[in-house]
């Protein structure tokens, strides 16, 4: 397993743990403090998501620096195949984020109506949701491409 795969697994595990922590936190706010569902969801998810974003961005940014410490002399850790897989993963990530934004805007307009104002914090939620969709799609594409191969050279 190379550096890119390890980072992808780390991303998926952190996002999954953040999702579980968010649900538990929200239930605690609802049952312990008697918050409404919307308020409990807002307070319950904010810290797990912020920690998740920090950890994922930190791991992605500094993985290259960390890999220098355990690299054997002259060993190549990144080549054309890794670059192709990362490009493919980025494409899928952006596609997932785009689909999330379009779907969330359509669903919101259908649910609350076209002439209704929505709270400003929903925008932060849309942004974080889009970012999470992108991170999940990016990580899954990396793992699938390394496991089953790329589609280059096949038409």
């Amino acid at each position: 397993m190379n550096k890119t795969q390890k980072v992808a697994w780390f991303q998926l595990i952190v996002i999954a743990l953040a999702a579980i922590a968010s649900v538990i936190n929200s239930f605690l706010y609802m049952h312990k403090y008697g918050y409404s569902f919307t308020k409990a969801w807002w307070f319950g998810t904010i810290w797990p998501i912020i920690i998740c974003v920090f950890l994922v961005v930190f791991a992605t940014t500094f993985s290259k620096t960390f890999s220098k410490f355990y690299r054997k002399k002259g060993e190549i850790l990144f080549d054309e195949r890794d670059l192709l897989i990362q490009r493919q993963a980025s494409r899928f990530g952006y596609a997932a984020a785009f689909v999330f934004f379009v779907a969330s805007f359509i669903i919101t307009s259908k649910v609350v109506g076209m002439d209704t104002l929505i709270p400003a914090y929903w925008l932060a939620r849309f942004f974080l949701g889009g970012w999470l969709s992108m991170a999940v799609a990016h990580a899954i594409t990396i793992l699938v491409c390394y496991k089953f191969g790329l589609t280059n050279g096949k038409s």
Partner: protein, 74 residues
């Protein structure tokens, strides 16, 4: 959909060259060991530049290492 089929003799050539390890070949070709494994297993078709480097690592021409066997319907 047609699927382009490439085959290669990297595994055989490695054993004919003093049982060269995948890591050694990767070092000579300038790629990672995982890429050599993927090429051997047919999971990845290398770029022309990498194909030339692999062929040169064995002292062979590119056609002695890689073979294009046409397209198969999928």
């Amino acid at each position: 959909m047609a699927k382009v089929k490439f085959t290669n003799s990297i595994r055989r050539l490695r054993f004919e060259n003093n049982e060269m390890s995948q890591q050694d070949l990767a070092g000579k070709a300038g790629c990672t060991r995982q890429t050599i494994i993927a090429i051997e297993q047919g999971k990845y078709n290398p770029s022309l530049a990498l194909a030339f480097k692999i062929a040169r690592a064995f002292g062979k021409s590119i056609e002695e290492v890689f073979c294009y066997s046409g397209e198969s319907a999928e």
